[in-house]
Symmetry: C2
Subunit: 342 residues, 2 copies
């Protein structure tokens, strides 16, 4: 339990604390000889300067926070993977905070982060987030913020997303081209950026093919699995049920699978299904799941890169910018094949 610090090193070497500090930072003020002596002792004793003392003095922490709704979710896990890879490369540290999709938690986390613990934040908002005072306050304290995936456009900063509108359109078009005539959209929450953009793409797709939109085909599922299950079941047992379903997120698609199993509905014969998903094993599902796959890892990487760039240059704020990375539609069995005509 030997805690080493500059003072100990200095005393050991018979030089001053400032000399040791400067030597370790490779300052021009220190002779090569002294640097070598200092360095070798530091290495020998495995000395690592105390980052908090350093942060205090330097007014920068080299630490960021990642705030996401959940982590047991393929998209966010991959995005965090991307974030962490860049952070490690650039020598930043990553604190993780989960909101569990609760606005209150998101707010409370943001408030705590005003303490100077971090230099920047990467954030995906909750489905409940309707206002952004808490985010504005955070930025007021000089903390840089970059949104990814679930963004708030009211806040001026960089936002890294995928092409939700275009992908929503393609997904809908894909279902139509495969014979679907009545297409439902499974929504998570209309105040979620990804959701209303994907829905807009869906509407555009219907419009493009002159299909009139039936309001009952837009099903707002909440984040509660049981409730979502019931609503999707209601949708699929309704007298005039859809023959195509576009799920805005992976979870709703898997719930739809389970509902179809219970109702003995055949995918894709009875109902064709496609969804946004980063499931690696989509191909192993029964039937294999057609997906719009987001570049989750890259989204994380890109968001982190932008943040670190601005932090390293000590910018006071990040200009408004939308970085859009393309998703790809991977057609598989769940959305293709014969539609059963009754």
């Amino acid at each position: 339990m030997t805690k080493i610090n500059l003072k100990i090193l200095a005393h050991e070497l018979g030089v001053s604390v400032s000399t040791v500090s400067k030597a370790l930072q490779d300052s021009y003020e220190i002779s090569q000889e002294t640097k070598d002596k200092v360095r070798s002792l530091a290495r020998k004793l495995n000395f690592q300067p105390n980052p908090y003392a350093s942060s205090l003095r330097r007014h920068q922490t080299r630490t960021i926070a990642v705030i996401v709704p959940e982590i047991a979710n393929n998209f966010f896990a991959l995005a965090i993977n991307g974030i962490e890879s860049i952070a490690q490369e650039k020598g930043y540290h990553v604190l993780i905070y989960l909101t569990h999709d609760s606005y209150e938690k998101e707010k409370s986390i943001c408030e705590h982060l005003q303490s100077g613990r971090i230099d920047g934040v990467l954030m995906s908002v909750t489905t409940e987030t309707q206002e952004y005072e808490h985010i504005a306050k955070l930025m007021d304290k000089g903390i840089l913020l970059v949104f990814f995936d679930r963004v708030r456009h009211e806040i001026e900063t960089a936002k890294v997303t995928t092409d939700d509108f275009v992908s929503g359109l393609s997904a809908t078009e894909h279902l139509i081209q495969n014979g679907a005539k009545r297409i439902a959209y499974l929504s998570l929450s209309p105040n979620l950026s990804i959701d209303y953009k994907r829905k807009a793409g869906y509407l555009e797709g219907l419009h493009k093919y002159n299909i009139s939109q039936a309001p009952e085909l837009i099903v707002e599922c909440t984040n509660n699995d049981e409730e979502a299950y019931q609503r999707i079941k209601a949708l699929l047992t309704s007298p005039h049920r859809p023959d195509g379903v576009f799920a805005s997120v992976e979870k709703l698609a898997t719930i739809a699978y389970a509902v179809c199993q219970e109702l003995s509905l055949q995918i894709p014969q009875d109902v064709k299904l496609i969804c946004f998903s980063n499931l690696k094993i989509a191909a192993l599902l029964s039937p294999s799941l057609s997906t719009i796959t987001q570049p989750a890892f890259e989204i994380g990487k890109e968001a982190a890169s932008i943040l670190f760039q601005h932090l390293d240059r000590k910018r006071a704020s990040i200009p408004n910018e939308n970085i859009v990375l393309k998703s790809i539609l991977v057609p598989r069995a769940s959305s293709q094949g014969e539609t059963l005509m009754i």
Copy 2:
């Protein structure tokens, strides 16, 4: 960009810095009246004491590190979820570090963490980790450590795992009871704790039923997906191929699914499959996947709880202890049903 600190508050209120500090900590030395004044101004200005200044003075950071091989993995994502939930409850902060299953990275991360950035570590080692000098050094600096899942028994501390041996035995027994006679074991790496315990359970299962173990049926897959694919393919195309497969981790099972697809082997008719997995949608696979499901969330929670307990009591070390949480075997289609007799 108004940075508030104790000095500003003190000046504003016409009291000393120490009074403000003590008032915020609800010290008995401060009158109720003063406390109220201080608190209300602090709230109004949204003051959060600088955690690094506080850490420096108090010699505790209320921050822990989580070191795991990967995060885009159901088990680890769930475990981190559990860790974070307890951390948030107890007011700890969670730094995340990924080793990408590289020993060198693990070592380097441990070295950097000797700086005093954290009070404790929760760790799952890499498949490459063969020695533990880097971990010992970390503990030498007074940093508490709790292992979870992938542990090193040479290190004296608490270890939270699942009942790998017993579960390995049950899985093997389950395959045997469903008619499998030649059972293969897909291993990740023999120097991984979870792996050799599960394998021991597998061997015990064979022994219990008087089945002799054929060495070629233990396939050491690496962490490289492509290589694992080839080895599993070799196994399943061998002249005397197994009729049962026990995969030690989820990923190897999904690779086995893909191999069977390529080879047109039927699961479970040609080969029965079971694996350790935390896949939520195991039931939606084709065929549905029989799993041994680990209490991943609880493992994370338990490991974090133990760590925080010892940290809060300022213990210098954590006594050696093995906490074992039970997994449950969920039989599904992949391991049951008729074996095709040729």
